[in-house]
């Protein structure tokens, strides 16, 4: 332990960067919750009307995850509740980070997670069978790779978007 408190060490200063283990800790929780969504979605029959589909357990849990992804994507990864839990209860028990990283890559990953899960949720609400399970499975794979392998979604996806023409100079700079 160094003399600094966990909060001081990981206050998330823009110049210092964040502890890369923070987002991976969050991704581990997210991946378990997404697996629960997949499990519930496979077991439950599709609700008969909009209200039934919106209030079935799998959809409720996925809605919570959509909100959490939006939180990370728009407020930034530093303000995400998992990040707060990590700093308060986990970081202090670990050795200080050997390296720090920019907050932009994990924030981008949150945005991708938001797009995937929100699309699945909306399609589910419109009565598309399997949409919830497929979207939650895709998001699970990304979150699991992040947690277990430190997979960097932004390292791969950004180039692919550029090459496919979805991302252009002006759009990226906006």
């Amino acid at each position: 332990m160094t003399g600094t408190t966990p909060t001081e060490r990981d206050s998330g200063d823009a110049r210092v960067g964040i502890d890369p283990r923070g987002p991976r800790f969050g991704a581990a929780i997210t991946s378990v919750l997404l697996l629960v969504v997949v499990l519930l979605g496979l077991i439950e029959p599709l609700g008969v009307d909009l209200l039934a589909r919106a209030t079935q357990p799998s959809a409720l849990l996925l809605t919570a995850l959509v909100v959490l992804f939006a939180w990370g994507a728009f407020a930034g990864i530093r303000k995400h509740p998992y990040g707060v839990i990590f700093r308060r209860f986990v970081a202090g028990r670990l050795a200080p980070p050997t390296e720090r990283e920019d907050a932009a890559p994990p924030t981008f990953a949150q945005l991708v997670g938001l797009i995937v899960t929100a699309t699945g949720l909306v399609l589910h609400l419109f009565g598309v069978g399997g949409a919830l399970v497929i979207a939650a499975s895709a998001a699970f794979v990304a979150a699991f790779l992040n947690a277990a392998f430190a997979f960097c979604l932004g390292c791969q996806l950004y180039v692919v978007l550029v090459r496919m023409g979805f991302l252009r100079r002006s759009a990226a700079r906006a």
Binding site: P20, D102, A104, P106, F140, F151, V162
Partner: protein, 140 residues
């Protein structure tokens, strides 16, 4: 679907993610030699070898690669390093089959692409690729 089948699907999903992770990890950092291609417009004037790092702003490995390259350039003035956002040079990314960032093109004095460094390559491997690029290419 009954609970047992659902659990089988869950197990298959975890296994798939595991295998995908191992494959991606094995492929994420590597050096591809002998790529060819001419990118003399990207060379830095006067440098024996130019490292052209294609990056994205949302890429954590790009920062690690930048650190390795910057250290190397600081120790060896015959080597230059420049970093380009792929969104600024999509044609370069297309010409050299860049599917992930960072990908660093190792250019010799004439601007020939001698190798590609994919991912945050270790300093020793960057050094080896740089030294290989110093050897004058004999064209048939």
């Amino acid at each position: 679907m009954d609970a047992v089948s659902a659990l089988v699907v869950i197990a298959a999903l975890i296994a798939f993610a595991m295998v995908l992770g191992l494959v991606l990890r094995a492929r994420s950092v590597r050096v591809v030699a002998g790529c060819g291609g001419d990118e003399h417009l990207l060379t830095v004037e006067g440098a024996d070898v130019t490292l052209v790092q294609l990056s994205s702003p949302v890429c954590s490995a790009c920062v690690a690669m930048r650190r390795v390259a910057t250290d190397l350039v600081a120790a060896d003035p015959t080597v230059a390093h420049r970093e380009i956002d792929v969104v600024d040079e999509p044609e370069v990314a297309r010409r050299h089959s860049v599917y992930s960032t960072p990908t660093t093109l190792v250019l010799d004095r004439q601007g020939h692409v001698r190798s590609r460094l994919i991912g945050a390559v270790k300093a020793a491997d960057v050094r080896a690729a740089v030294d290989a690029a110093r050897v004058v290419l004999v064209r048939a």
